[in-house]
Subunit: 612 residues, 2 copies
């Protein structure tokens, strides 16, 4: 099997040549620790780790999977080593942790993290969840909670999980049935219930696992507003920080999944023996039975939802790089334009090139979109200018559903295409692409399904602050078009951008009219929401890669064709043109379909879907 390889050049372009990283590194939070000088060094170091430490365990992990035996879960031993290596050496949770001295800008952290995810998505799921749990405690816990838990989670001693889903409460988390009962000890509750689909819920990576559990306290209101948040360690942590008794958390089993097979997805029973203790995070239910458990969890969600889209991006990118290299080595067939010529590497065939540039365009456009999102989050979280931070926060919130859904849905198609480039061997497990297809599929489901995000867009993000945030977002698009209207050599592209922009405007107004006549139009809102999301995502992705292409055009004009960066810049320009001229026109069609408001989906009787 070919060695793992990744487009570190594109990551360097994003940080060194495209985003305003001077601004980010200049923020108070980062300026003493990081600067432009660190970018290449960090990326180079991690690329080595991705190749030498992480990617070698990926296939084996898929092959062996996790082993469940009497409540215990084992991952392949190489996973334990790699997990601890990354956490202990400062390449893991600490860099994304609010509680860490060395927290990096998301833009920087995520650039190197992308290569590690691509090298082993299953391994990195453990680190991601640990980061998330630690950040929850850091942000909402007491000083004592931080002291007792956070450091041990960041340094690899302990891992962490998020426990939301239950057998009867998935997308509808508000129906969770897990309960929290008061004890004599204030702040300490007895937890009782079952959680499922818990990534890393039981695993032998470390000596303890810190579960962040949503549960309903006594007196808690029904629905999501009544849920509280609890820290539930697998092994109780004594006052002095030492490990105490097991905390009555039982792993009932693990899922046998299509992919991510080295990532343990556990079903957990809390309090089977009425002896599971949890530490309340935040306050007790108010007079109306409301707790802020879910709100606290959701506070972390922008980042982890963009992170899920980023995870999908990393996987489709890795599959694309493997496929492209295979295409340059695999000899098969003769050129269409000259069939008498000798056999050629398949990359010479027009259709293989088309498949490759489609993957390249999607990968680079989605990556650009995602890093805009991380940039907005960096400014929103750590920026000094309050107005700008608020605006960036709004923009990040709009991008979140676009990134999460468009990236995860596109990844399934693009990795399918990577298999197609390989041909028959791509379908075998000897080559790496089929594993990516299997690994990636969950990402359109977890952290909120694609539909949940489509509704988040049309129901919340387009309407929040009376529609002001979405108007800002649209203004930015308009401004890009105006600014580049006379840009030489990109007339066709800007014209296509403008058409797509006008489609999105029309859709926004159409949706406003739906809300204006709910009696007749209400059901059209969810029905067409996924198409609205695709339109917004493709418009933004197209602009992002086109903006990069404009930078690349300036750069390429200053160098010779023999320059080592020449191919990179011309590839960027070609990929941007491909996206704008071949993918973006989908928006025109989607707009037409949305406007037609066909109701056949709603009119079809339910029984017509069912066979027996």
């Amino acid at each position: 099997m070919a060695e793992f390889a990744y487009d570190i050049r594109d990551l360097k372009f994003i940080l060194n040549e495209w985003l305003d990283m001077e601004e980010v590194f200049g923020l108070d939070k980062f300026k003493d620790n990081y600067g432009m000088d660190d970018v290449d060094f960090i990326l180079n170091e991690v690329y080595k780790l991705a190749k030498e430490v992480v990617s070698p365990i990926n296939k084996e992990g898929d092959h062996i999977g996790v082993k469940f035996d009497r409540g215990k879960v084992e991952v392949p031993p190489e996973y334990v080593k790699a997990y601890r290596f990354l956490q202990e050496n400062g390449w893991g949770s600490a860099n994304e942790s609010l509680g860490s001295e060395t927290i990096m800008p998301l833009t920087l952290y995520r650039a190197y993290n992308e290569m590690l995810i691509a090298a082993s998505p299953a391994l990195m799921s453990y680190i991601k969840l640990t980061t998330g749990a630690a950040n929850l405690i850091y942000r909402f816990g007491t000083d004592r909670d931080r002291e007792m838990f956070v450091e041990n989670m960041l340094n690899g001693n302990w891992s962490g999980t998020m426990c939301l889903t239950e057998p009867n409460a998935g997308s509808d988390v508000g129906d969770a049935a897990t309960r929290a009962y008061p004890t004599g000890d204030p702040g300490i509750y007895k937890i009782k219930g079952t959680k499922m689909f818990i990534t890393g819920g039981e695993v032998d990576l470390s000596e303890n696992i810190i579960h962040m559990v949503l549960a309903r306290p006594e007196g808690g209101a029904p629905g999501s507003k009544g849920l509280g948040l609890y820290i539930v360690p697998k092994v109780w942590v004594n006052e002095d920080g030492s490990l105490g008794e097991p905390n009555d958390v039982t792993c009932i089993g693990v899922e046998h999944k299509m992919g991510l097979r080295a990532s343990a997805t556990a079903m957990l029973s809390f309090g089977e023996n009425d002896n599971c203790r949890g530490i309340l995070v935040g306050s007790q239910p108010d007079g109306e039975g409301a707790s802020k458990g879910l709100a606290m969890m959701f506070h972390m969600m922008n980042e982890s939802r963009i992170g899920t889209g980023h995870n999908a991006l990393a996987q489709m990118a890795a599959a694309y790089y493997y496929a492209a290299r295979y295409a340059s080595e695999r000899i098969q067939g003769r050129p269409f334009t000259n069939p008498k010529e000798g056999r050629v590497p398949i990359i010479k065939h027009e259709d293989v090139k088309r498949m490759l540039i489609e993957m390249k365009a999607q990968v680079e456009a989605i990556r650009a979109m995602i890093f805009k999102g991380f940039y907005y989050l960096d400014i929103a979280e750590h920026g000094g200018d309050r107005e700008k931070s608020a605006r960036c926060q709004g923009l990040a919130e709009i991008l979140t559903p676009l990134i999460k859904t468009y990236s995860s849905e596109t990844a399934w198609q693009m990795i399918g295409q990577a298999i197609q480039v390989y041909g028959g061997v791509g379908y075998t497990e000897e080559y790496p692409v089929s594993q990516y297809a299997r690994d990636v599929k969950i990402l359109s489901i977890w952290e909120g399904t694609s539909f949940i995000h489509a509704m988040d867009l049309v129901g919340r993000k387009m309407r929040m602050k009376g529609g002001a945030s979405f108007s800002h977002w649209l203004e930015d698009r308009r401004e890009f078009i105006e600014k580049n209207k006379n840009r030489e050599g990109f007339g066709i592209e800007i014209n296509n951008m403008e058409k797509a922009y006008n489609c999105v405007l029309e859709i926004r107004d159409l949706y406003a009219s739906f809300y204006g006549s709910m009696a007749e139009k209400a059901r059209l809102i969810p029905l067409y929401a996924p198409r609205v999301l695709i339109c917004c995502a493709q418009l933004f992705a197209a602009e992002s890669i086109l903006e990069q292409a404009l930078v690349a055009t300036e750069k390429i004009n200053a160098i010779d064709p023999g320059h080592h960066d020449y191919a990179y810049y011309s590839g960027k320009i070609a990929a941007a043109r491909y996206f704008v001229n071949n993918i973006l026109p989908n928006v025109y069609m989607q707009a037409q379909v949305i406007k037609s408001a066909d109701k056949s989906a709603l009119e079809c009787p339910e029984e017509a879907f069912l066979v027996s």
Copy 2:
């Protein structure tokens, strides 16, 4: 796990209410053996077999897979039983065999066969290959060959394979390096070479395996025209029909595949000990070194390529039926239009309904398109009216690439959507849909990749007989539109059909202009071929399901809403409208992109795809 279920009602509709099966059953070949009366009986019987005999082994087969040990391959024992059961009881190869008294019309055979494929794609691959090999011998072999091989293949005693691909010759089969050397015995050759990706190449289903092998005889020209065809039994068959010595065919290994894991995909070495004998089919090389081996194989290919599309359809249909039933049982969330109402089955949610009708529309439109193809093949092969048969042959040839490619590519997307309907549990192997996703992916690759079929369409099918066949095909589309222009209640749909039809006309003319200026335009031909194929396929699929909906409209007008067929007919009408109004508009966008003739894919330097 839910029991296997299938839409037998739609299959009955196709044969009893839509296609002119009176005409087919009236053909000389069939009229003494089959009639309209048999349709329901046969479909009902096989549906029982699919549920009771075939589907129960499907998951286990995936789980256990095939076992390779020292040259021998074992399938799970239930596969041996099921294979023999179907073949011995007349539900297998015999009904599709030219050499069988009881050959059925493809329309009838394939209708019941679809349920068996859906129940276990891996099992049915063995039967399909055996049929193909037997039909090759029947059509091109001598009387002696037929006598020695065909009967034993049809009755389940022996199985069969097709051996085309080699490690260095896949899509480019003309580069095959396997050789055939003359022996003292006329008609008998020594075979030497390696074949890979051979479905059923080694397997313990029966006492012998008859390989149909492409090899180059001495004096054979280079390229595909020099390849001859040879019958190579795994165990030599003596003059008296008894089994003789092993025939020096060695299984080197089996592929570890993403799916179809109970289907043995073997690598075979022929003549490792210089002792592998093959029987020449057809004549020796002519004066120019040409043999007709590949032409003979390709003669069977229309059917098996449509069959591959049909295989994909069966799998996506099965995944859809599972997903729809799950959606009707899984309680989660509250209605968007009435959030205070209680929790509802997820089929009540607009987006779930949208996903289901998208699958339903694709499934039923593609099925309709495929059965038109089988109908054309029945008339072409067995019709009495020569002119009509020739026309049907031309139409079937045009449909072949559309069906093979559109169905297999769409299946990957639709089964991904079936997983999405299930949510998290769809990603686990406890539920059936992830296996279909894994099983189906190979179908866009085998029997010619999607691109090969796109080129077959634009390079051969659109141009054969000076473009006359494609003009016939277009005339039929035009006629459908004209005939239904004033059809009450379908004005929007016919209007959309006409727009799409005009797009395809434009594309046809554009492609003619490419051929007229090859010096500049040659590379656009392969570059946009896959989009041309999608446009033609969606136009034809839309028409096929809309034609069904017109029949359903007449039927539904004659029954009460309480009638047991009411839901079926209204579902058909809704699905047709959905396809025409929500899926078909893709053709307008594709046409626009094709006409734009953007060359960024070609302009991107190859090095820009490669990372290291």
